[in-house]
């Protein structure tokens, strides 16, 4: 279970972007979080992905309360969560070839030996050809780069996926393809999903349950 309890977070303690949010995602469940631009939903996604320390409140991941964030989070928690961001250009190291981009989490966790097979398998899953894997981010389109970012998020076989506006930059066909990849992964592994977006039609089609930002911030 991924539990966010009364989370308040932001970049200025006097004006937090997220105020007192409570949201629970059960194991294997997919929850869509819907809200307008600038409401703070991306900040909440960063908290859920252990990438931003909340000012107050508690995050509990499969029963373990999270005490440390970002690089200080213990590896077994950090690797349990896969993240995909809105802008593939900003979330890819421009110096890495796509194959290395996908393999980076394996190298960072000392699993270099398995990288080659795992990258080939994932490239096939997300629809990247061997030729594309040898290119750097500036040599591919946004859609192709986002496919690589999804592969990178899945490479450690996370129990949780956080997709923050994963498809906002993409055309309809690539959107449908990447949502299908995420859903196939969830069906085979039972991973849970928190998908953040502003597209109501997309989220209701994609997720088991869709909650609106207003309902998670209001005190119950």
């Amino acid at each position: 279970m991924l539990e966010l309890r009364s989370v308040t977070a932001g970049y200025d303690r006097r004006a937090p972007a997220v105020r007192d949010v409570t949201l629970t995602v059960s194991s294997g469940e997919s929850v869509g979080l819907l809200g307008p631009s600038g409401c703070g939903k991306s900040t909440l996604a960063r908290v859920a992905a252990l990438l931003h320390r909340p000012d107050s409140g508690e995050v509990v991941l499969d029963g373990t309360p999270v005490r440390h964030w970002r690089h200080r989070a213990p590896r077994e928690l950090r690797t349990a969560v896969g993240v995909v961001f809105q802008q593939p250009r900003l979330s890819a190291d421009p110096r890495l070839r796509l194959a290395d981009l996908i393999a980076e989490p394996l190298r960072a966790t000392g699993r270099r030996a398995s990288a080659e097979d795992r990258v080939a398998e994932l490239a096939d899953t997300v629809g990247l050809t061997p030729d594309l894997l040898t290119r750097r981010p500036h040599e591919v389109s946004d859609g192709q780069l986002q496919r690589a970012c999804v592969a990178r998020a899945l490479v450690l076989r996370p129990r949780w996926l956080i997709c923050d506006e994963m498809t906002a930059m993409l055309d309809a066909s690539t959107t449908a393809a990447l949502v299908a990849v995420v859903e196939a992964y969830r069906t085979s592994t039972g991973a849970g999903l928190l998908a953040v977006a502003h597209d109501h039609t997309l989220l209701t089609r994609w997720c088991d349950r869709t909650v609106h930002w207003k309902t998670v911030t209001e005190p119950r």
Partner: protein, 323 residues
């Protein structure tokens, strides 16, 4: 509106990028279309299919390694061969207004919206004098429904929607007969997308021509009179929006696939990925992903004025379609 002379008339426009090592990238190939006053033509397609290159070609903003062929007439002016002086002094801002993809990056970060509007008014119109410029800037803001209370703010203090309106206000100042909007709605939420395209539609209804480039099919449906679908650098279908999004639907298998990929339709992707623009097949570029492909597809399908496919779905009502 069919009888009126088009504002923009593009005939056989092609753009090639020459890369070191003799590689050639076919970014746009043989594009044909017109845009009339009071009409909105929306160009849709996947990212990397050549849409933005087409827009840059029209504004004369291609990098030095690009080669163009064909014609793009803006009234009596040939845009592709016009020199930089003519483009800078008479076309950009005056005859073509650009509404950019990312307004936050388009605006000058160190100056207020008011000062940017006033500068543009001073450059493009005959208005002189501080008070007159101030009034003209406020008027310009009003035309794009930019709230006067936010005029003294800097771009980083504006929300995405307000920054978009500021950029639109700048594009409208020169009273250009043609507006060119390149992905004006990326990154905006659905309400803001609707509001932005409705505002663009108002300017079309005020007898301007609008060429909008987007991959957002919902926004296209809301604003378009006609739709051009681009695939691998070529326009493969040109149809009335009412047919394209309506009961008869698109005719090209690629356009059909794009619509079916929408979450409120079947939500299934088109298999495979678009071909590399540097390595296009001889025949139909879509054949490798097409379920209707036959031996005929090894030959390039000619563009008939409404479609380029060897086996399109039947035409709805031919009289609605115009090249």
């Amino acid at each position: 509106m069919t009888e009126r002379a088009p504002v923009l008339s593009v005939r056989g426009l092609s753009v090639r990028f020459l890369l070191p090592g003799g590689r050639r990238i076919a970014a746009v190939t043989d594009a044909h279309f017109d845009v009339a006053p009071g009409e909105c033509l929306v160009l849709i397609g996947e990212s990397g299919c050549g849409k933005s290159v087409l827009a840059s070609a029209l504004l004369g903003l291609l990098p030095a390694n690009a080669q163009t062929a064909g014609h793009a007439h803006l009234g009596d002016l040939e845009l592709l061969t016009a020199d930089e002086r003519v483009l800078a002094r008479t076309v950009r801002g005056r005859r073509i207004g650009l509404i950019p993809q990312s307004p936050a990056a388009h605006l000058t970060p160190v100056r207020t919206i008011r000062s940017q509007l006033a500068e543009t008014v001073a450059r493009l119109t005959g208005v002189r004098g501080r008070t007159a410029l101030r009034a003209a800037a406020e008027q310009a803001a009003e035309r794009a429904e930019f709230p006067p209370g936010h005029l003294d703010r800097y771009p980083h203090e504006l929300s995405g929607g307000l920054a978009q309106r500021a950029a639109t206000a700048l594009a409208l100042i020169g009273d250009a007969p043609l507006l060119l909007a390149d992905e004006p709605t990326t990154g905006l939420d659905r309400d803001l997308v609707d509001r932005t395209v409705d505002e663009l539609r108002r300017h079309v209804d005020a007898d301007r021509a609008l060429l909008m480039i987007t991959h957002d099919l919902a926004a296209a449906e809301r604003v378009a009179d006609r739709v051009a679908v681009m695939y691998a650098g070529r326009i493969v279908e040109l149809a009335a929006a009412s047919d394209f999004f309506g009961a008869s639907g698109p005719r090209h298998p690629y356009s059909q696939g794009l619509l079916q990929a929408l979450p409120d339709r079947s939500f299934t992707p088109i298999p495979g990925m678009p071909p590399e623009l540097g390595d296009l097949p001889e025949g139909c570029a879509f054949a490798a992903r097409c379920d209707r492909a036959t031996d005929a597809c090894t030959a390039l399908p000619p563009f008939t004025g409404s479609i380029a496919c060897h086996h399109p779905a039947p035409a709805p009502t031919p009289e609605n379609i115009r090249a």
